[in-house]
Amino acid sequence: MTTQLPPGIQLEKVDDRIMTLNVGPQHPGSGHMRLIIKVDGDYIVSCDPDPGYVHRGEEKMAEYRNYIQNIPHLERPVIHDSSNILYPYCLATEELLGIEVPERAKYIRVIAAELNRCIYTLYWLAIYGIFLGHSTMFMWPAGDRELFIDLLEAMSGARVTHAYLVPGGVRNDLPANFEERCLRQVDYFEKRIKEYQAIFYKNPLLISRTEGTGVLSRTDAIRLGTTGSVLRASGVNFDIRKKEPYDVYENLDFETVVMKEGDSYARSYVPYLEMFESCRIIRDAIRKMPKSGSVRTKLKPNPKGGNDEVYKRVESGRGALGYYIVSNNRPEPYRVKISVGSFRNLICMPYLLKGELLGNMPAVYWSLNYWPVEADR
Protein backbone atom coordinates (compact mmCIF):
# COMPACT_ATOMS: atom_id res chain seq x y z
CA MET A 1 0.00 0.00 0.00
CA THR A 2 2.46 2.60 -1.08
CA THR A 3 1.50 5.95 -2.45
CA GLN A 4 3.32 5.27 -5.76
CA LEU A 5 0.74 2.73 -6.87
CA PRO A 6 -1.93 3.97 -9.25
CA PRO A 7 -5.16 4.57 -7.38
CA GLY A 8 -7.51 1.63 -7.20
CA ILE A 9 -4.81 -1.03 -7.31
CA GLN A 10 -3.61 -2.77 -4.21
CA LEU A 11 -0.82 -5.24 -3.88
CA GLU A 12 -0.93 -7.70 -1.09
CA LYS A 13 1.94 -9.44 0.55
CA VAL A 14 1.16 -13.12 1.02
CA ASP A 15 1.93 -14.64 4.35
CA ASP A 16 1.15 -18.26 5.14
CA ARG A 17 0.30 -17.59 8.76
CA ILE A 18 -2.32 -15.00 7.92
CA MET A 19 -5.71 -16.11 6.71
CA THR A 20 -8.15 -13.77 5.03
CA LEU A 21 -11.81 -14.08 5.93
CA ASN A 22 -14.64 -12.38 4.15
CA VAL A 23 -17.30 -11.69 6.72
CA GLY A 24 -20.34 -10.73 4.70
CA PRO A 25 -22.05 -9.39 2.71
CA GLN A 26 -24.22 -12.50 2.93
CA HIS A 27 -23.12 -13.40 6.42
CA PRO A 28 -25.89 -12.25 8.75
CA GLY A 29 -23.42 -11.07 11.37
CA SER A 30 -22.01 -8.33 9.21
CA GLY A 31 -25.09 -6.41 8.22
CA HIS A 32 -25.24 -5.29 4.61
CA MET A 33 -21.51 -4.97 4.27
CA ARG A 34 -18.33 -6.94 4.01
CA LEU A 35 -15.53 -7.02 6.51
CA ILE A 36 -12.27 -8.27 5.08
CA ILE A 37 -10.64 -9.67 8.17
CA LYS A 38 -7.14 -11.10 8.37
CA VAL A 39 -6.56 -13.47 11.22
CA ASP A 40 -3.46 -14.95 12.77
CA GLY A 41 -4.82 -17.92 14.66
CA ASP A 42 -7.71 -16.53 16.63
CA TYR A 43 -6.55 -12.93 16.63
CA ILE A 44 -7.56 -10.28 14.12
CA VAL A 45 -4.50 -8.59 12.64
CA SER A 46 -6.33 -6.27 10.30
CA CYS A 47 -9.85 -5.40 9.31
CA ASP A 48 -10.86 -3.56 6.18
CA PRO A 49 -14.54 -2.61 6.05
CA ASP A 50 -16.03 -2.69 2.59
CA PRO A 51 -19.39 -0.93 2.66
CA GLY A 52 -21.44 0.10 -0.35
CA TYR A 53 -23.65 -2.93 -0.94
CA VAL A 54 -26.74 -0.84 -0.24
CA HIS A 55 -25.55 2.43 -1.72
CA ARG A 56 -28.58 3.98 -3.38
CA GLY A 57 -27.38 7.46 -4.22
CA GLU A 58 -29.89 9.25 -2.03
CA GLU A 59 -27.85 12.44 -2.40
CA LYS A 60 -28.01 12.25 -6.18
CA MET A 61 -31.71 11.48 -6.17
CA ALA A 62 -32.34 14.54 -4.04
CA GLU A 63 -30.94 16.77 -6.80
CA TYR A 64 -33.75 15.71 -9.12
CA ARG A 65 -36.71 16.33 -6.83
CA ASN A 66 -38.06 19.44 -5.18
CA TYR A 67 -38.02 20.09 -1.47
CA ILE A 68 -41.37 18.40 -0.85
CA GLN A 69 -40.82 15.41 -3.11
CA ASN A 70 -37.56 14.71 -1.33
CA ILE A 71 -39.24 13.89 1.97
CA PRO A 72 -40.24 10.23 1.48
CA HIS A 73 -37.06 8.96 -0.14
CA LEU A 74 -34.65 10.68 2.22
CA GLU A 75 -35.91 8.63 5.15
CA ARG A 76 -35.09 5.34 3.39
CA PRO A 77 -31.55 4.95 4.75
CA VAL A 78 -32.92 4.33 8.25
CA ILE A 79 -36.56 3.51 8.07
CA HIS A 80 -36.72 2.60 11.75
CA ASP A 81 -35.35 6.01 12.73
CA SER A 82 -37.12 7.92 10.01
CA SER A 83 -38.11 10.94 12.07
CA ASN A 84 -34.54 11.62 13.06
CA ILE A 85 -33.14 11.39 9.55
CA LEU A 86 -35.79 13.79 8.27
CA TYR A 87 -35.34 16.18 11.17
CA PRO A 88 -32.19 17.97 9.96
CA TYR A 89 -33.56 18.03 6.43
CA CYS A 90 -36.63 19.87 7.68
CA LEU A 91 -34.55 22.25 9.80
CA ALA A 92 -32.23 22.99 6.90
CA THR A 93 -35.04 23.50 4.41
CA GLU A 94 -36.87 25.77 6.82
CA GLU A 95 -33.81 27.89 7.26
CA LEU A 96 -33.22 27.97 3.52
CA LEU A 97 -36.77 28.94 2.66
CA GLY A 98 -37.31 31.16 5.70
CA ILE A 99 -40.26 29.25 7.15
CA GLU A 100 -41.45 29.66 10.73
CA VAL A 101 -42.61 26.48 12.46
CA PRO A 102 -45.65 26.64 14.78
CA GLU A 103 -44.85 26.07 18.45
CA ARG A 104 -47.06 23.01 18.79
CA ALA A 105 -45.41 21.38 15.79
CA LYS A 106 -42.00 21.76 17.41
CA TYR A 107 -43.14 19.75 20.42
CA ILE A 108 -44.80 17.11 18.28
CA ARG A 109 -41.60 16.74 16.31
CA VAL A 110 -39.59 16.23 19.46
CA ILE A 111 -42.03 13.56 20.64
CA ALA A 112 -41.88 11.80 17.28
CA ALA A 113 -38.10 11.98 17.23
CA GLU A 114 -37.76 10.53 20.72
CA LEU A 115 -40.27 7.75 20.07
CA ASN A 116 -38.35 6.91 16.95
CA ARG A 117 -35.04 6.95 18.77
CA CYS A 118 -36.39 4.33 21.18
CA ILE A 119 -37.70 2.23 18.30
CA TYR A 120 -34.31 2.36 16.65
CA THR A 121 -32.44 1.59 19.85
CA LEU A 122 -34.60 -1.44 20.56
CA TYR A 123 -34.10 -2.73 17.04
CA TRP A 124 -30.38 -2.37 17.44
CA LEU A 125 -30.48 -3.95 20.89
CA ALA A 126 -32.39 -6.93 19.48
CA ILE A 127 -29.67 -7.46 16.87
CA TYR A 128 -26.96 -7.00 19.44
CA GLY A 129 -28.64 -9.58 21.66
CA ILE A 130 -29.03 -12.23 18.99
CA PHE A 131 -25.44 -11.89 17.77
CA LEU A 132 -24.21 -12.49 21.26
CA GLY A 133 -26.37 -15.60 21.36
CA HIS A 134 -28.95 -14.16 23.71
CA SER A 135 -32.22 -14.92 21.99
CA THR A 136 -34.43 -13.53 24.77
CA MET A 137 -32.78 -10.21 24.19
CA PHE A 138 -33.89 -10.50 20.59
CA MET A 139 -37.51 -11.32 21.40
CA TRP A 140 -38.13 -8.78 24.13
CA PRO A 141 -36.98 -5.59 22.39
CA ALA A 142 -38.59 -6.73 19.14
CA GLY A 143 -41.87 -7.05 21.04
CA ASP A 144 -41.54 -3.88 23.09
CA ARG A 145 -40.87 -1.83 19.98
CA GLU A 146 -44.50 -2.37 19.07
CA LEU A 147 -45.60 -0.06 21.89
CA PHE A 148 -44.01 2.94 20.25
CA ILE A 149 -44.61 1.76 16.71
CA ASP A 150 -48.31 1.80 17.55
CA LEU A 151 -48.00 5.34 18.86
CA LEU A 152 -46.24 6.54 15.74
CA GLU A 153 -48.76 4.70 13.62
CA ALA A 154 -51.51 6.62 15.38
CA MET A 155 -49.61 9.87 14.75
CA SER A 156 -48.59 9.36 11.15
CA GLY A 157 -50.58 6.47 9.75
CA ALA A 158 -47.58 4.33 8.89
CA ARG A 159 -45.77 1.75 10.96
CA VAL A 160 -42.19 2.30 9.88
CA THR A 161 -41.78 4.83 7.07
CA HIS A 162 -43.62 7.68 8.70
CA ALA A 163 -42.52 10.68 6.59
CA TYR A 164 -44.16 12.56 9.42
CA LEU A 165 -41.82 15.49 9.72
CA VAL A 166 -42.11 17.93 6.85
CA PRO A 167 -40.49 21.31 6.26
CA GLY A 168 -42.80 23.69 8.07
CA GLY A 169 -43.95 21.37 10.84
CA VAL A 170 -45.51 17.92 10.87
CA ARG A 171 -47.82 16.33 8.37
CA ASN A 172 -50.90 16.20 10.58
CA ASP A 173 -52.03 16.89 14.11
CA LEU A 174 -52.07 14.32 16.90
CA PRO A 175 -55.11 12.04 17.11
CA ALA A 176 -57.65 12.49 19.89
CA ASN A 177 -56.57 11.31 23.35
CA PHE A 178 -53.02 10.83 22.15
CA GLU A 179 -51.45 12.39 25.22
CA GLU A 180 -53.02 9.96 27.68
CA ARG A 181 -52.29 6.97 25.53
CA CYS A 182 -48.70 8.07 25.00
CA LEU A 183 -48.08 8.58 28.71
CA ARG A 184 -49.56 5.19 29.48
CA GLN A 185 -47.39 3.46 26.88
CA VAL A 186 -44.27 5.32 28.03
CA ASP A 187 -44.87 4.22 31.63
CA TYR A 188 -45.26 0.63 30.60
CA PHE A 189 -42.28 0.86 28.26
CA GLU A 190 -40.09 2.15 31.04
CA LYS A 191 -41.20 -0.67 33.30
CA ARG A 192 -40.37 -3.17 30.57
CA ILE A 193 -36.92 -1.90 29.72
CA LYS A 194 -35.95 -1.86 33.40
CA GLU A 195 -36.17 -5.64 33.22
CA TYR A 196 -33.44 -5.71 30.56
CA GLN A 197 -31.00 -4.80 33.31
CA ALA A 198 -31.36 -8.12 35.09
CA ILE A 199 -31.57 -10.33 32.05
CA PHE A 200 -28.98 -8.70 29.82
CA TYR A 201 -26.81 -5.98 31.25
CA LYS A 202 -26.06 -7.81 34.49
CA ASN A 203 -25.65 -11.11 32.73
CA PRO A 204 -22.12 -12.43 33.45
CA LEU A 205 -21.89 -13.87 29.93
CA LEU A 206 -22.47 -10.50 28.37
CA ILE A 207 -20.07 -8.82 30.74
CA SER A 208 -17.34 -11.36 30.05
CA ARG A 209 -17.65 -10.83 26.30
CA THR A 210 -17.96 -7.08 26.22
CA GLU A 211 -16.09 -5.65 29.18
CA GLY A 212 -12.63 -4.58 28.15
CA THR A 213 -13.06 -5.52 24.49
CA GLY A 214 -12.62 -2.95 21.76
CA VAL A 215 -11.53 -0.14 24.03
CA LEU A 216 -11.63 3.30 22.48
CA SER A 217 -9.86 5.95 24.51
CA ARG A 218 -11.18 9.48 24.86
CA THR A 219 -8.37 10.95 22.77
CA ASP A 220 -8.90 8.47 19.97
CA ALA A 221 -12.65 8.95 20.01
CA ILE A 222 -12.10 12.65 19.39
CA ARG A 223 -9.32 12.16 16.88
CA LEU A 224 -11.33 9.66 14.84
CA GLY A 225 -14.28 12.03 14.85
CA THR A 226 -16.70 9.45 16.23
CA THR A 227 -20.15 10.51 17.26
CA GLY A 228 -23.19 9.53 19.25
CA SER A 229 -23.11 6.71 21.76
CA VAL A 230 -19.58 5.70 20.72
CA LEU A 231 -18.30 9.13 21.63
CA ARG A 232 -20.26 9.39 24.85
CA ALA A 233 -19.18 5.91 25.96
CA SER A 234 -15.59 7.14 25.71
CA GLY A 235 -16.17 9.96 28.16
CA VAL A 236 -16.90 12.90 25.88
CA ASN A 237 -19.93 14.85 26.96
CA PHE A 238 -21.31 15.85 23.59
CA ASP A 239 -24.93 15.64 22.62
CA ILE A 240 -26.25 18.03 20.00
CA ARG A 241 -29.60 18.17 21.79
CA LYS A 242 -27.73 19.86 24.65
CA LYS A 243 -24.87 21.58 22.86
CA GLU A 244 -26.71 23.10 19.93
CA PRO A 245 -30.37 22.68 20.87
CA TYR A 246 -32.81 22.67 18.00
CA ASP A 247 -36.56 23.28 18.14
CA VAL A 248 -37.61 23.05 21.82
CA TYR A 249 -34.91 20.82 23.31
CA GLU A 250 -33.54 23.67 25.40
CA ASN A 251 -36.85 23.89 27.30
CA LEU A 252 -36.95 20.20 28.10
CA ASP A 253 -35.60 18.40 31.10
CA PHE A 254 -33.09 15.64 30.36
CA GLU A 255 -29.48 14.73 30.84
CA THR A 256 -26.69 13.45 28.65
CA VAL A 257 -25.53 9.93 29.40
CA VAL A 258 -21.75 9.69 29.53
CA MET A 259 -19.59 6.72 30.47
CA LYS A 260 -15.84 6.64 30.80
CA GLU A 261 -14.85 3.05 30.00
CA GLY A 262 -14.99 3.21 26.21
CA ASP A 263 -15.36 -0.57 25.84
CA SER A 264 -18.09 -2.55 24.12
CA TYR A 265 -20.06 -2.78 27.33
CA ALA A 266 -20.17 0.97 27.79
CA ARG A 267 -21.06 1.47 24.13
CA SER A 268 -23.98 -0.90 24.44
CA TYR A 269 -25.08 0.54 27.78
CA VAL A 270 -25.21 4.20 26.76
CA PRO A 271 -28.03 3.85 24.18
CA TYR A 272 -29.98 1.78 26.70
CA LEU A 273 -29.72 4.48 29.38
CA GLU A 274 -30.63 7.09 26.79
CA MET A 275 -33.99 5.43 26.33
CA PHE A 276 -34.87 6.47 29.90
CA GLU A 277 -33.89 10.02 29.01
CA SER A 278 -36.08 9.79 25.92
CA CYS A 279 -39.01 8.78 28.10
CA ARG A 280 -38.28 11.80 30.30
CA ILE A 281 -38.24 14.08 27.26
CA ILE A 282 -41.53 12.69 25.96
CA ARG A 283 -43.26 13.23 29.32
CA ASP A 284 -41.89 16.72 29.63
CA ALA A 285 -42.78 17.61 26.05
CA ILE A 286 -46.36 16.43 26.52
CA ARG A 287 -46.64 18.54 29.66
CA LYS A 288 -45.25 21.70 28.07
CA MET A 289 -46.84 21.34 24.63
CA PRO A 290 -49.49 23.91 23.65
CA LYS A 291 -52.77 22.05 23.71
CA SER A 292 -54.02 23.39 20.42
CA GLY A 293 -52.90 25.40 17.45
CA SER A 294 -51.53 24.98 13.99
CA VAL A 295 -49.03 22.20 13.34
CA ARG A 296 -47.86 23.06 9.86
CA THR A 297 -46.85 26.10 7.87
CA LYS A 298 -47.69 25.42 4.28
CA LEU A 299 -44.96 25.93 1.75
CA LYS A 300 -45.28 27.92 -1.43
CA PRO A 301 -45.70 25.87 -4.59
CA ASN A 302 -42.27 24.73 -5.76
CA PRO A 303 -40.39 26.75 -3.16
CA LYS A 304 -36.95 27.96 -4.19
CA GLY A 305 -34.02 28.51 -1.90
CA GLY A 306 -31.83 31.46 -2.86
CA ASN A 307 -28.16 31.28 -3.75
CA ASP A 308 -27.39 29.87 -0.40
CA GLU A 309 -26.09 26.99 1.62
CA VAL A 310 -27.04 25.57 4.98
CA TYR A 311 -25.69 22.93 7.33
CA LYS A 312 -28.00 21.64 10.04
CA ARG A 313 -27.44 18.75 12.41
CA VAL A 314 -29.41 16.85 15.01
CA GLU A 315 -28.70 14.01 17.39
CA SER A 316 -30.07 10.79 15.92
CA GLY A 317 -30.06 7.30 17.38
CA ARG A 318 -26.58 6.79 15.96
CA GLY A 319 -25.10 10.19 16.62
CA ALA A 320 -24.89 13.47 14.81
CA LEU A 321 -26.84 13.59 11.59
CA GLY A 322 -26.26 16.60 9.39
CA TYR A 323 -27.58 17.87 6.10
CA TYR A 324 -25.52 20.17 3.93
CA ILE A 325 -27.81 21.69 1.31
CA VAL A 326 -26.60 23.99 -1.46
CA SER A 327 -29.31 25.74 -3.41
CA ASN A 328 -29.14 27.86 -6.53
CA ASN A 329 -32.52 29.54 -7.00
CA ARG A 330 -34.11 26.39 -8.31
CA PRO A 331 -36.98 24.33 -6.88
CA GLU A 332 -34.58 21.40 -6.52
CA PRO A 333 -31.58 21.55 -4.22
CA TYR A 334 -28.29 21.86 -6.11
CA ARG A 335 -26.47 19.47 -3.82
CA VAL A 336 -27.53 17.53 -0.75
CA LYS A 337 -24.92 15.91 1.43
CA ILE A 338 -26.05 13.72 4.29
CA SER A 339 -23.45 13.38 7.00
CA VAL A 340 -24.50 10.33 8.98
CA GLY A 341 -23.33 8.96 12.29
CA SER A 342 -22.87 5.42 10.99
CA PHE A 343 -20.46 6.52 8.29
CA ARG A 344 -18.48 8.58 10.75
CA ASN A 345 -18.24 5.70 13.22
CA LEU A 346 -17.17 3.27 10.50
CA ILE A 347 -13.61 4.60 10.72
CA CYS A 348 -13.06 3.15 14.18
CA MET A 349 -13.97 -0.37 13.11
CA PRO A 350 -10.53 -1.37 11.76
CA TYR A 351 -9.07 0.43 14.70
CA LEU A 352 -11.03 -1.41 17.38
CA LEU A 353 -10.94 -4.88 15.86
CA LYS A 354 -7.19 -5.01 15.50
CA GLY A 355 -5.76 -7.39 18.07
CA GLU A 356 -9.19 -8.58 19.13
CA LEU A 357 -10.32 -12.21 19.22
CA LEU A 358 -12.31 -13.19 16.15
CA GLY A 359 -15.06 -14.46 18.42
CA ASN A 360 -15.45 -10.98 19.88
CA MET A 361 -15.98 -9.44 16.47
CA PRO A 362 -19.80 -9.25 16.72
CA ALA A 363 -19.59 -7.89 20.25
CA VAL A 364 -17.38 -5.05 19.09
CA TYR A 365 -18.93 -4.49 15.68
CA TRP A 366 -22.54 -4.21 16.81
CA SER A 367 -21.66 -2.16 19.85
CA LEU A 368 -20.73 0.63 17.43
CA ASN A 369 -24.44 1.26 16.94
CA TYR A 370 -23.76 1.00 13.25
CA TRP A 371 -26.41 0.79 10.59
CA PRO A 372 -24.88 -0.15 7.20
CA VAL A 373 -27.79 1.11 5.11
CA GLU A 374 -27.49 4.54 6.61
CA ALA A 375 -23.73 4.59 6.17
CA ASP A 376 -24.07 3.83 2.45
CA ARG A 377 -26.96 6.21 1.87
Binding site: G52, I71, G98, R223, L299, P301, N302, G306, R344
Partner: protein, 230 residues
Protein backbone atom coordinates in the same frame (compact mmCIF):
# COMPACT_ATOMS: atom_id res chain seq x y z
CA UNK B 1 -45.74 5.39 -5.07
CA UNK B 2 -44.11 7.86 -2.68
CA UNK B 3 -43.12 10.15 -5.51
CA UNK B 4 -46.74 10.54 -6.52
CA UNK B 5 -47.83 11.26 -3.00
CA UNK B 6 -45.08 13.86 -2.76
CA UNK B 7 -46.39 15.54 -5.89
CA UNK B 8 -49.92 15.68 -4.57
CA UNK B 9 -48.51 17.28 -1.50
CA UNK B 10 -46.83 19.99 -3.49
CA UNK B 11 -50.01 20.69 -5.40
CA UNK B 12 -52.01 20.86 -2.25
CA UNK B 13 -49.46 23.28 -0.84
CA UNK B 14 -49.75 25.35 -3.97
CA UNK B 15 -53.44 26.02 -3.58
CA UNK B 16 -53.19 26.86 0.07
CA UNK B 17 -50.15 29.10 -0.16
CA UNK B 18 -51.01 31.39 -3.01
CA UNK B 19 -53.69 33.14 -1.01
CA UNK B 20 -52.06 32.79 2.39
CA UNK B 21 -48.82 34.40 1.46
CA UNK B 22 -50.11 37.79 0.35
CA UNK B 23 -51.48 38.51 3.79
CA UNK B 24 -48.72 38.06 6.29
CA UNK B 25 -46.05 40.62 5.76
CA UNK B 26 -44.28 38.83 2.92
CA UNK B 27 -44.45 41.71 0.39
CA UNK B 28 -42.50 44.05 2.65
CA UNK B 29 -39.76 41.45 2.95
CA UNK B 30 -39.74 41.17 -0.81
CA UNK B 31 -38.99 44.84 -1.09
CA UNK B 32 -36.12 44.66 1.38
CA UNK B 33 -34.55 41.65 -0.21
CA UNK B 34 -34.69 43.02 -3.74
CA UNK B 35 -33.21 46.38 -2.79
CA UNK B 36 -30.34 44.59 -1.14
CA UNK B 37 -29.92 42.50 -4.21
CA UNK B 38 -29.59 45.64 -6.31
CA UNK B 39 -26.63 46.76 -4.26
CA UNK B 40 -24.82 43.53 -4.87
CA UNK B 41 -25.22 43.61 -8.62
CA UNK B 42 -22.17 45.73 -9.22
CA UNK B 43 -20.14 43.19 -7.25
CA UNK B 44 -21.54 40.08 -8.77
CA UNK B 45 -22.87 40.40 -12.30
CA UNK B 46 -24.25 36.89 -12.52
CA UNK B 47 -26.70 37.46 -9.69
CA UNK B 48 -28.70 40.02 -11.62
CA UNK B 49 -29.63 37.48 -14.27
CA UNK B 50 -31.19 35.10 -11.84
CA UNK B 51 -34.85 35.28 -11.09
CA UNK B 52 -35.82 36.82 -7.80
CA UNK B 53 -39.18 35.18 -7.42
CA UNK B 54 -38.27 33.59 -4.10
CA UNK B 55 -37.66 36.90 -2.33
CA UNK B 56 -37.06 35.44 1.11
CA UNK B 57 -34.81 36.76 3.79
CA UNK B 58 -32.29 34.04 2.99
CA UNK B 59 -31.73 35.82 -0.32
CA UNK B 60 -29.68 38.42 1.45
CA UNK B 61 -26.14 37.99 0.16
CA UNK B 62 -23.85 36.25 2.58
CA UNK B 63 -21.45 39.19 2.80
CA UNK B 64 -24.20 41.55 4.00
CA UNK B 65 -25.43 39.55 6.95
CA UNK B 66 -24.53 41.00 10.36
CA UNK B 67 -21.88 38.97 12.16
CA UNK B 68 -22.26 38.19 15.89
CA UNK B 69 -19.39 38.92 18.26
CA UNK B 70 -18.11 35.40 18.82
CA UNK B 71 -18.16 34.39 15.18
CA UNK B 72 -16.42 37.65 14.33
CA UNK B 73 -13.59 36.91 16.74
CA UNK B 74 -12.97 33.57 15.01
CA UNK B 75 -13.18 34.94 11.50
CA UNK B 76 -10.93 37.86 12.41
CA UNK B 77 -8.26 35.48 13.68
CA UNK B 78 -8.27 33.58 10.40
CA UNK B 79 -8.41 36.72 8.30
CA UNK B 80 -5.56 38.43 10.14
CA UNK B 81 -3.35 35.37 9.85
CA UNK B 82 -3.86 34.62 6.19
CA UNK B 83 -5.00 37.97 4.78
CA UNK B 84 -5.90 37.79 1.12
CA UNK B 85 -5.27 34.06 0.91
CA UNK B 86 -8.64 33.31 2.45
CA UNK B 87 -12.10 34.76 2.26
CA UNK B 88 -14.09 34.39 5.45
CA UNK B 89 -17.87 34.63 5.34
CA UNK B 90 -20.50 34.42 8.00
CA UNK B 91 -23.16 32.21 6.44
CA UNK B 92 -25.67 32.09 9.29
CA UNK B 93 -25.80 31.54 13.04
CA UNK B 94 -22.89 29.34 14.21
CA UNK B 95 -21.69 28.73 10.67
CA UNK B 96 -18.54 30.36 9.36
CA UNK B 97 -17.26 29.64 5.90
CA UNK B 98 -13.59 29.86 5.00
CA UNK B 99 -12.75 29.64 1.32
CA UNK B 100 -9.18 29.26 0.23
CA UNK B 101 -7.03 28.18 -2.68
CA UNK B 102 -6.16 24.52 -2.79
CA UNK B 103 -2.44 25.28 -2.36
CA UNK B 104 -3.09 26.95 0.99
CA UNK B 105 -5.66 24.56 2.41
CA UNK B 106 -3.18 22.53 4.42
CA UNK B 107 -1.75 25.60 6.18
CA UNK B 108 -5.21 26.94 6.91
CA UNK B 109 -6.32 23.56 8.24
CA UNK B 110 -3.31 23.32 10.58
CA UNK B 111 -4.08 26.80 11.86
CA UNK B 112 -7.74 25.93 12.42
CA UNK B 113 -6.79 22.82 14.33
CA UNK B 114 -3.89 24.11 16.41
CA UNK B 115 -4.85 27.73 17.07
CA UNK B 116 -8.64 27.68 16.96
CA UNK B 117 -9.30 24.29 18.54
CA UNK B 118 -11.40 22.49 15.94
CA UNK B 119 -10.56 18.81 16.28
CA UNK B 120 -12.63 16.67 13.93
CA UNK B 121 -14.35 16.66 10.57
CA UNK B 122 -18.07 16.01 10.38
CA UNK B 123 -18.25 15.58 6.66
CA UNK B 124 -16.43 16.16 3.41
CA UNK B 125 -18.68 17.04 0.50
CA UNK B 126 -17.93 17.63 -3.11
CA UNK B 127 -20.01 20.12 -5.06
CA UNK B 128 -19.74 20.02 -8.83
CA UNK B 129 -19.81 23.29 -10.79
CA UNK B 130 -19.57 22.35 -14.48
CA UNK B 131 -20.16 25.94 -15.63
CA UNK B 132 -17.05 27.30 -13.96
CA UNK B 133 -15.20 24.01 -14.58
CA UNK B 134 -14.52 23.51 -10.89
CA UNK B 135 -15.33 21.08 -8.14
CA UNK B 136 -15.66 22.48 -4.67
CA UNK B 137 -14.52 20.32 -1.78
CA UNK B 138 -16.18 21.35 1.47
CA UNK B 139 -14.99 20.23 4.90
CA UNK B 140 -17.29 20.70 7.86
CA UNK B 141 -15.22 20.90 11.00
CA UNK B 142 -16.37 20.79 14.60
CA UNK B 143 -14.91 20.69 18.06
CA UNK B 144 -15.45 18.28 20.94
CA UNK B 145 -12.76 19.59 23.24
CA UNK B 146 -13.51 23.31 23.27
CA UNK B 147 -16.75 23.99 25.07
CA UNK B 148 -17.18 27.40 23.45
CA UNK B 149 -16.99 25.94 19.95
CA UNK B 150 -19.56 23.22 20.56
CA UNK B 151 -22.25 25.06 18.64
CA UNK B 152 -19.95 26.04 15.80
CA UNK B 153 -19.41 24.23 12.55
CA UNK B 154 -16.66 25.70 10.46
CA UNK B 155 -16.90 25.22 6.72
CA UNK B 156 -13.55 25.00 5.00
CA UNK B 157 -13.91 25.08 1.24
CA UNK B 158 -11.57 24.96 -1.68
CA UNK B 159 -11.93 24.50 -5.41
CA UNK B 160 -10.09 22.11 -7.66
CA UNK B 161 -10.09 22.09 -11.49
CA UNK B 162 -12.65 19.93 -13.18
CA UNK B 163 -11.96 18.14 -16.43
CA UNK B 164 -14.54 17.51 -19.10
CA UNK B 165 -13.49 13.87 -19.48
CA UNK B 166 -12.50 12.73 -16.02
CA UNK B 167 -9.73 10.25 -15.41
CA UNK B 168 -9.83 9.89 -11.64
CA UNK B 169 -6.43 9.93 -10.03
CA UNK B 170 -4.57 10.91 -13.19
CA UNK B 171 -6.04 14.25 -14.19
CA UNK B 172 -5.71 17.72 -12.72
CA UNK B 173 -8.59 17.30 -10.23
CA UNK B 174 -6.37 16.85 -7.21
CA UNK B 175 -5.57 18.52 -3.93
CA UNK B 176 -3.63 17.88 -0.74
CA UNK B 177 -5.30 15.46 1.61
CA UNK B 178 -6.17 16.77 5.06
CA UNK B 179 -5.86 13.34 6.60
CA UNK B 180 -2.62 14.36 8.33
CA UNK B 181 -4.42 17.26 9.96
CA UNK B 182 -7.80 15.71 10.70
CA UNK B 183 -7.54 11.96 10.96
CA UNK B 184 -11.31 11.65 10.76
CA UNK B 185 -11.49 12.68 7.08
CA UNK B 186 -10.04 9.36 5.92
CA UNK B 187 -13.24 7.66 4.74
CA UNK B 188 -14.91 10.91 3.78
CA UNK B 189 -12.09 11.71 1.36
CA UNK B 190 -12.26 8.22 -0.08
CA UNK B 191 -15.93 8.78 -0.76
CA UNK B 192 -15.26 12.14 -2.35
CA UNK B 193 -12.60 10.57 -4.59
CA UNK B 194 -14.91 7.94 -6.02
CA UNK B 195 -17.98 10.14 -6.28
CA UNK B 196 -16.33 13.22 -7.81
CA UNK B 197 -12.94 12.03 -9.02
CA UNK B 198 -10.99 14.41 -6.81
CA UNK B 199 -7.69 12.77 -5.98
CA UNK B 200 -6.29 13.50 -2.53
CA UNK B 201 -2.50 13.62 -2.58
CA UNK B 202 -0.94 12.12 0.50
CA UNK B 203 -3.97 10.07 1.43
CA UNK B 204 -2.66 6.65 2.48
CA UNK B 205 -5.51 4.61 1.08
CA UNK B 206 -7.03 6.08 -2.06
CA UNK B 207 -9.30 3.19 -2.93
CA UNK B 208 -12.95 3.01 -3.73
CA UNK B 209 -15.25 2.70 -0.77
CA UNK B 210 -18.91 2.57 -1.76
CA UNK B 211 -18.87 2.03 -5.52
CA UNK B 212 -18.43 -1.46 -6.98
CA UNK B 213 -14.88 -2.45 -7.97
CA UNK B 214 -15.85 -2.71 -11.63
CA UNK B 215 -17.51 0.69 -11.91
CA UNK B 216 -16.49 1.90 -15.38
CA UNK B 217 -18.56 5.06 -15.75
CA UNK B 218 -17.64 8.60 -14.75
CA UNK B 219 -17.79 9.53 -11.06
CA UNK B 220 -21.52 9.36 -10.39
CA UNK B 221 -22.10 12.50 -8.34
CA UNK B 222 -20.86 14.79 -11.11
CA UNK B 223 -23.59 16.81 -12.72
CA UNK B 224 -23.05 15.24 -16.14
CA UNK B 225 -23.90 11.79 -14.78
CA UNK B 226 -27.66 11.60 -15.26
CA UNK B 227 -30.13 9.32 -13.54
CA UNK B 228 -32.02 7.23 -16.06
CA UNK B 229 -35.46 8.51 -16.90
CA UNK B 230 -34.98 11.90 -15.28
Amino acid sequence: MHVTSGKNQADEGCIAMSSENEKDGQPSETAVASSEDDKSISKDETKSHEEKSTALSSDTPVSQRPVPQFEKSISDKIASKFGSKVSVDYVRANRIRVSTKKEDISDVAYFIRDELGYDHAESVSGVDYPDSKEIEVVYHLGSYTDEKLATQVLTLATRVPREEIPNPGKDSSRMTSLREVFYSVEFHERECFEMFGVYFEGHPDNRRLLLPEDWADIPPFRKDFKIKGR
